[in-house]
């Protein structure tokens, strides 16, 4: 009974603690970037004890909606803002939201470790996922149906892959979708005929293919060097959006820090790649 009472008291204190720990800066948006955003906040708060930063996910669209309604200071996005969303922002606060690239992400194409195929061109990958290539034989593998795994269509990764690898074509309906890169990897690791895609920094248990920009070109392995220097053909930026009127004081300092060498050092810890030095702020 005594123990129970103690537990209750502790919960109550914790509850009060949560309520009083009012967040000075709120960040909302892309689920892909939640861990990155939290890591940034954690490191920054260690250095600046007075600042409180609260990071939540929900999705890029939810982040933009919150930005329009002034429910968040910063919106994380794994895709660029859409015209329709800029329009609502203009109506809400009369300004285009300001965009900052804050990290780089390379997308790897994974296959099972026993798959003899080691490289593909961007076009071949696109043809596989749009359904034109159905058998591994067509790209130099064994005679077997290709089982394709994709991310959900709500992920920025999906949209990027569709725009830049499938050239805007639809994914084949038989492409199976999974909720996260980790799940895609698990599925690929368990199925010899499978192919999937996701962040280059992930990838235990599956083989990362080398990708050539054109058929017959030099195939490039996704590494930090090739992704940051843009040699590797499938890479993208991750973004941060904010209302330009609010970019001052603590908020500005935080955004500047994220884009500085210090902030960029954190990026690698959570599986993305830092910005090329010319895009950083120093």
């Amino acid at each position: 009974m005594n123990l129970l009472q103690q537990a209750l008291v502790l919960t109550a204190i914790a509850g009060v603690g949560v309520v009083t720990a009012f967040a000075d800066i709120t960040v909302k948006g892309s689920d892909t970037m939640v861990i990155l955003g939290q890591k940034w906040a954690e490191v920054y708060m260690q250095q600046h004890a007075a600042v409180k930063i609260q990071v939540t996910g929900g999705g890029s669209g939810i982040g933009f909606a919150a930005l329009q309604n002034k429910q968040t200071d910063l919106a994380n996005a794994s895709r660029r803002i859409k015209a329709k969303e800029v329009e609502t922002c203009l109506k809400a606060f009369g300004k285009r939201p300001r965009e900052y690239a804050v990290a780089k992400d390379g997308l790897s194409v994974y296959v099972h470790v026993e798959n003899p195929v080691t490289q593909l061109s961007v076009e071949e990958v696109g043809a596989i996922f749009s359904g034109r290539i159905k058998n591994w034989q067509e790209v130099g593998g064994p005679d077997a149906l290709i089982i394709r795994y994709s991310r959900e269509n709500s992920s920025g990764t999906y949209e990027f892959f569709k725009d830049h690898v499938l050239q805007g074509k639809d994914f084949a309906p038989a492409v199976q979708t999974l909720a996260g890169t980790a799940q895609v990897l698990q599925a690929v690791a368990k199925d010899k005929r499978s192919i999937g895609y996701g962040g280059a920094a992930y990838g235990q248990g599956a083989k990362h293919l080398k990708i050539s920009p054109v058929k017959g070109g030099i195939a490039i392995e996704p590494t930090e060097e090739t992704v940051v220097s843009n040699q590797y053909p499938i890479s993208r930026f991750l973004y941060l959006y904010l209302n330009p009127e609010l970019e001052k004081g603590e908020l500005k300092a935080y955004v500047d820090w994220i884009r500085s060498d210090d902030g960029q050092r954190v990026v690698k810890d959570v599986g993305y790649f830092p910005l090329p030095t010319n895009l950083r702020r120093n």
Binding site: D31, G57, G58, G59, S60, G61, I62, F64, A65, K82, A83, K84, E85, V86, E87, T88, L90, K91, G94, K95, R96, L145, I147, E152, N153, S154, S155, G156, Y158, E159, K162, G168, K169, D170, F171, P173, A174, V175, Q176, T177, L178, A179, Q183, Q186, A187, K190, D191
Partner: protein
């Protein structure tokens, strides 16, 4: 009513009574409000007011000063009050963004179609780049395709597979535990099955995806590791405790006199259970199955993980499928709030609500029928 209170109403009792009444009303209110919210968000599509077609004409920014302001207001879709409140700069920026949106839009020959019309939602259509008319759910696309049929079929397919798996097991277990088992076996089996419901569905889904999928693929030799059957079996595991508990209650509440009479007439225990108790409890058992159906069709996490989520329309249980619930869960985060994709997901919610509601109503009607049949009333 017939009973009159002979004593004065005690104020505390009265208060408690009112409080309880209020609580029960709150439940109704909450259900109603949720449905109102979901329904309202999807209403523009139901009424055909949404238009996903790309706008045909674009006014370049340079014409801002030469055109009458009324024309620009109508073009931007602003109310007079909104138009007043925005300054010139913002209005020009709005025009700019329309031009950019037009560039973002595609040259696809289907771009001018309003794909949120009911015929595109329910009937197959041959889109450009497609070889034949298809039922397809492809909301993030140059031309968003929102056919609901594959999702509905996917939901029903997994639910059906789940019920095929869980109903015999759950009812068998219920019959055994309530009629045949020794008290000590009952003490063991009942809590064990009910403990199944304590497994979080995300754990169940992960288990299905990582372990069960491999075993099932070896057993069935299917092309796809993740498929409707796998999701169905995992869902079945989630619904077994629901069906079991209710069915067991129904079977136990059959008066012992029935069994005793049957036994006295020389029936075996099994025969008494199967031919006397089960038919007598049929309304309750039926209600249990209906509730199991509701649990299966509404379950999200398990199907999200185990069904493969490919929106193909196929009759085979060994193909992957995409369900209504998984679609909502997976897609709601990203679309522009208020866009047609967003509203379409709420339409799926309304659809789900309607299906469950109808099932419950029909279930209730059938149950009453069965009950009156048993009681010898017409």
């Amino acid at each position: 009513m017939g009973i009159h209170r002979s004593h004065r109403v005690r104020p505390l009792e009265w208060l408690a009574e009112q409080l309880i009444r209020l609580l029960s009303l709150t439940a109704i209110l909450v259900v109603f409000l949720i449905f109102l919210f979901v329904g309202r968000e999807s209403l523009p599509i139901v009424l055909g007011q949404m238009n996903s077609a790309a706008p045909q004409t674009v006014i370049p920014v340079e014409q801002f000063d030469s055109l009458p302001s009324e024309r620009i207001r109508a073009y931007l879709g602003l109310s007079a009050k909104e138009f007043q409140s925005l300054n010139q700069e913002t209005l020009k920026a709005l025009l700019e963004i329309r031009v950019e949106a037009a560039l973002e839009g595609s040259t696809n020959r289907d771009a001018g179609l309003n794909t949120t019309e009911w015929r595109y939602l329910l009937k197959p259509y041959q889109w450009s780049d497609y070889e034949r008319p298809v039922y397809i759910w492809q909301p993030v696309s140059e031309v968003p395709k929102y056919n609901l049929v594959p999702l509905l079929v996917g939901s029903l397919k997994t639910t059906l597979a789940a019920l095929f798996f869980s109903v015999p097991i759950a009812l068998g277990a219920a019959l055994y535990v309530s009629q045949l088992a020794s008290p000590s076996a009952k003490e063991l089996i009942k809590p064990a099955i009910e403990l199944l419901s304590a497994i979080p569905s995300v754990v169940l889904g992960s288990f299905a995806m990582l372990v069960l999928a491999t075993a099932l693929q070896a057993l069935t030799g299917s092309q796809f590791r993740l498929n409707a059957l796998l999701a169905g079996i995992a869902l079945g595991m989630a619904s077994i405790p629901v069906i079991f508990s209710l069915a067991e209650d129904a079977l136990t509440s059959v008066p012992v006199a029935y069994t005793q009479a049957a036994l006295a007439l020389g029936a075996s225990r099994w025969r008494a259970a199967w031919q006397i108790v089960l038919p007598a409890a049929i309304p309750g058992v039926f209600a249990a199955v209906v509730l199991g159906f509701g649990r299966c069709i509404g379950e999200t996490m398990v199907v999200l993980l185990a069904s493969g989520n490919a929106s193909i329309l196929s009759g085979s249980f060994l193909d992957p499928c995409r369900t209504l619930t998984a679609t909502i869960a997976a897609e709601l985060g990203e679309p522009v709030v208020g866009s047609h994709h967003y509203r379409m997901l709420f339409l799926l919610g309304t659809l789900l609500f309607t299906v469950t509601f109808l099932t419950n109503v029909v279930g209730d009607l059938v149950m009453h029928r069965l009950k009156s049949g048993l009681e010898g009333r017409k």
